[in-house]
């Protein structure tokens, strides 16, 4: 079995490591700053995917592989995105049901406190 790896340009691994460290530090700053939820989620998810892409491209050498292999590696990302969107219709109904149930619990908790005040 011929298993010798052909030579390709060796990426600057230390530079990739520094980028990953900087992105992780930015993530921590955002997490501790506790910004509005929408900004928190969108920024952290973007940073996480940027880090994942860096690891896949340079540490896993996907950037230097044939395009067909890169497409194979990309399949799980497509399927998981599809899976998440498939869940969305169910999620939206569950979210409303959960909020309704939460409000009912809060109302039932508030009712006994309000009872003595009523004539």
């Amino acid at each position: 079995m011929a298993t010798q790896t052909p030579e390709h340009a060796e990426p600057n691994y230390i530079a990739v490591f520094i980028y990953l460290s900087i992105l992780t530090a930015i993530e921590l700053v955002i997490a501790y700053a506790r910004p509005p939820k929408l900004f928190l989620v969108s920024s952290l998810v973007s940073l996480a995917f940027a880090k994942a892409v860096l690891v896949a491209m340079y540490f896993m050498h996907l950037r230097f592989e044939r395009r067909t292999l890169a497409m194979i590696a990309f399949i799980p990302a497509i399927l998981v995105t599809f899976l998440t969107f498939m869940l969305l219709p169910d999620l939206t109904t569950r979210i409303w049901a959960s909020i309704d149930a939460h409000e009912q619990v809060r109302a039932s908790e508030a009712a006994p406190a309000a009872a003595p005040a009523s004539p």
């Binding site: 298993t3 044939r66 899976l83 999620l91």
Partner: protein, 206 residues
Amino acid sequence: MSQAVADVHAEHLHTLEPAESPLTPESWGKLGMWVFLCADAMTFGAAIAAYAALRITNVNWPEPRDILGIQTTAVMTFILIVSSVTMVQALSGVKHGNQRKFTMFMAFTILGGLTFLVMQAFEWHHLIWIEGLSIRTSLFSATFFILTGFHGCHVLGGIIYNSVILLRGLAGKITQANSSLVEIAGLYWHFVDLVWILIFTFVYLI
């Protein structure tokens, strides 16, 4: 005459060598590892999607940072990233015929994985014995233990895999000639790092 026939036969065998894959330039092993990683990625993807679905639909979901220690986990993340760097350095060593660099950085990679597992064990110990969490306590704790536990099993598998590669390297069975074995092991290890990057964000930070 017989030598000429033998040469032609050897050349014919060479052309039939299946190591030249249309997908990867050098080995079927790498293609096999990528296919395995795709399947594994879908398992993790489904688990993370289920975590997101359960979390979004529960208004009483606790803030993870109030329960989980972000500082410890940030150090664990840093250790895994460093271990990925040592892994590529080990690969660089064996590719260039530097066995000493290869074995030294492989040992560092294994040490990084072990440190990660020990820190995770301490984290679990704190959550279970101090905080009183278990897999049955709540959806939050169940998803947390399943996701981090599944990943921890992968780290353990990676440590064993890398240890085998290191031992074979020390025995002189892995050299520049078959360096792609190290690259294939590296693919698995970097995947473990990649998944942790996502788990760290989704489970601990958000």
